[in-house]
């Protein structure tokens, strides 16, 4: 049996003995990182500065799709883009005020307001961080703090792999999927068959969202996008109107990235406890 107190910092032992109720007030922050994320962000050489939040309550314009036509609902696409952009930029402003190098663990949430179907709330929330020793070279596009939806653990792993995050990039497309005509529906009765217009609509909408996200990454001079996630959602619109939302973290290789990767030897493990 080991005596853990031999390995503990003096302030930790004092806390456990109940001798100290107050810590140092220096560098006190709030964050929504989990404990594991917090440890790994610190392990990566960064310190959390504070929770940063940006929000936007947005009234969606009105647009109707043609009944039998596959088409992008550009008014709604623009609204989803603009509102998210406003929330993100407000969050970034808070990070700039904290002199952060970047924001990790960013979550983008959309919620419909209960009193009006046309009003949506967009919220971007994350933890602003800065390098512990003030090392430079981690800022994002245009010297602004980088943004990333990667967790604290993934952030550590990304740096270990020789990449740094540049910007959280996204692509959105709100699409109207055409309805089937009566004759077509009748023709499909009792048959197993692909509904090609529906397939095509989903393909096209997804493709537009991915293209837009990739374009954003290109603008950010990134080498690639990691942790890509594709969400499908309908924010209480008509059943045939759907949003494809692609999001990920644009990353850029650091100097000596290959050496870093060579030094890294991930171990494969098979857990036996479940």
């Amino acid at each position: 049996m080991t005596d853990i107190t031999e390995h503990l910092a003096p302030h930790a032992v004092e806390r456990l003995k109940g001798l100290r109720a107050q810590g140092s007030h220096e560098g006190i922050f709030t964050s929504d990182l989990s404990v594991n994320e917090f440890v790994m962000v610190r392990k990566a050489g960064f310190e959390p500065l504070g929770l940063v939040v940006g929000s936007c309550i947005y009234h969606m314009g009105i647009q109707y799709g043609q009944w039998s036509q596959n088409m992008e609902m550009d008014v709604l696409s623009q609204a989803m883009y603009q509102a998210r952009e406003l929330a993100m930029s407000r969050m970034e402003q808070e990070a700039i005020l904290l002199r952060a190098d970047g924001i990790v663990g960013v979550r983008l949430e959309v919620k419909r307001m209960e009193w009006d179907q046309e009003i949506l709330e967009f919220m971007a929330i994350g933890t602003a961080i800065a390098h512990r020793d003030g090392q430079e070279g981690f800022k994002g596009v245009g010297g602004k703090p980088f943004t990333s939806d990667l967790s604290g653990q993934d952030f550590w792993m990304l740096l270990q792999a020789g990449y740094r995050p540049m910007e959280m990039v996204m692509g959105s497309c709100v699409y109207h999927v055409a309805h089937q005509g009566f004759m077509k529906s009748m023709g499909n009765l009792g048959r197993n068959t692909e509904l090609e217009p529906f397939t095509q609509a989903m393909y096209d909408a997804r493709e537009l969202a991915m293209e837009r996200m990739q374009h954003e990454a290109q603008d950010a001079q990134a080498d690639g996008i990691t942790g890509v996630n594709l969400h499908e959602g309908s924010h209480n619109w008509q059943p045939h109107v759907i949003e494809f939302f692609a999001v990920g973290t644009a990353v850029k290789a650091m100097e000596h990235a290959n050496d870093l990767v060579d030094a890294l030897s991930p171990q494969l493990v098979i857990p036996v406890n479940d």
Binding site: T5, A12, V13, G23, I28, P48, I125
Partner: protein, 304 residues
């Protein structure tokens, strides 16, 4: 026994069950002890006795840890003392938001006092739950495992951590001490200057700038209160729960339309020295655990 006798006996038992039962003298005395103890911000004698006897080893210990966790605790010189809890059923008189702060703090103080009576250094694996009451009230409950580190004397102010005992130790070894739980909440009303929020009834894409700004302000004040509560306990806060609620109150001929926004954040307070890097070793590991066929997304939707 005839069928008639069986029926009449069953009916008698059923009627007996319908009659209001009276508590025994012992139960009444117990309730009286609870009332006195809660009024005096202490614990009833029988609870104190049970906790102290459990801590002294005269009663079996209790823990929320799994057998694997228990083994790790043992190897680190950590001893589970017992299961401790606290709750506070709270009525919201003037403020639902402030009620959350008071309710949680009340429950946490009771949890801490149970741990103190057991001579614990910390309470780990703390679970928080709420139960909604019938009207403007709610029960706030916390529970966890009181632990003792063998090489340390008992604490006058046990720490409260929402992580398991093993994670607790890992954090301590990394120079980070989970200290307690912080709560921040704020609410406010907003009345648009012209009776209606700007852009609320438009036909085009438009931000409701005044409502956005109002909500942002409420959220900031709540997070500021969270930070202050953490600072009071001498640490930074890792917020794990956040809740925003916004509602519109319809206007009428006498009262204009107005908006209510409330925000509550709850987090774990961590004391650490930011100048020192954590000493926890880490290495990349890829787990080959078999999982169900799931969609490759964060939501993990089952595919079949």
């Amino acid at each position: 026994m005839s069928i008639w006798d069986k029926l009449s006996q069953g009916l008698g038992q059923a009627l007996h069950g319908l009659a209001p039962a009276s508590p025994s003298q012992e139960a009444l005395a117990r309730q009286e002890s609870w009332t006195r103890a809660l009024d005096g911000k202490t614990l009833p004698d029988f609870v104190q006795r049970r906790l102290q006897e459990t801590a002294a080893g005269r009663l079996p210990w209790l823990t929320t840890a799994t057998p694997a966790e228990l083994l790790l605790q043992k190897s680190h010189g950590i001893r589970p003392l017992g299961f401790v809890s606290g709750n506070c059923w709270y009525h919201f008189g003037y403020s639902w938001t402030q009620g959350h702060i008071d309710g949680w703090h009340g429950a946490l103080e009771r949890l801490r006092s149970e741990a103190y009576l057991m001579g614990a250094n910390a309470v780990v694996d703390v679970q928080m739950r709420v139960r909604k009451g019938e009207s403007d009230d709610m029960d706030y409950a916390v529970s966890g495992t009181a632990i003792r580190i063998d090489s340390l004397p008992e604490s006058g102010n046990p720490l409260v951590a929402t992580v398991s005992a093993v994670e607790f130790v890992r954090l301590l070894e990394g120079g980070m001490v989970p200290v307690g739980v912080a709560i921040g909440a704020y609410y406010d009303w907003y009345q648009p200057p012209y009776g209606r929020a700007q852009g609320e009834r438009s036909w085009w894409n438009q931000e409701l700038t005044d409502v956005s700004a109002f909500q942002q302000q409420v959220r900031r004040r709540a997070l500021y209160a969270l930070g202050e509560d953490g600072q009071r306990q001498g640490g930074s806060v890792l917020a794990h729960t956040q809740f925003t609620h916004m509602a519109r109150q319809e206007g009428d001929s006498e009262n204009p339309e107005r908006f209510l926004c409330r925000h509550i954040a709850i987090g774990t307070v961590i004391d650490h020295d930011r100048r020192v890097a954590p000493g926890i070793p880490a290495r990349p590991v890829y787990s080959l655990r078999q999982s169900l066929l799931t969609a490759s997304s964060h939501q993990k939707r089952p595919l079949v």
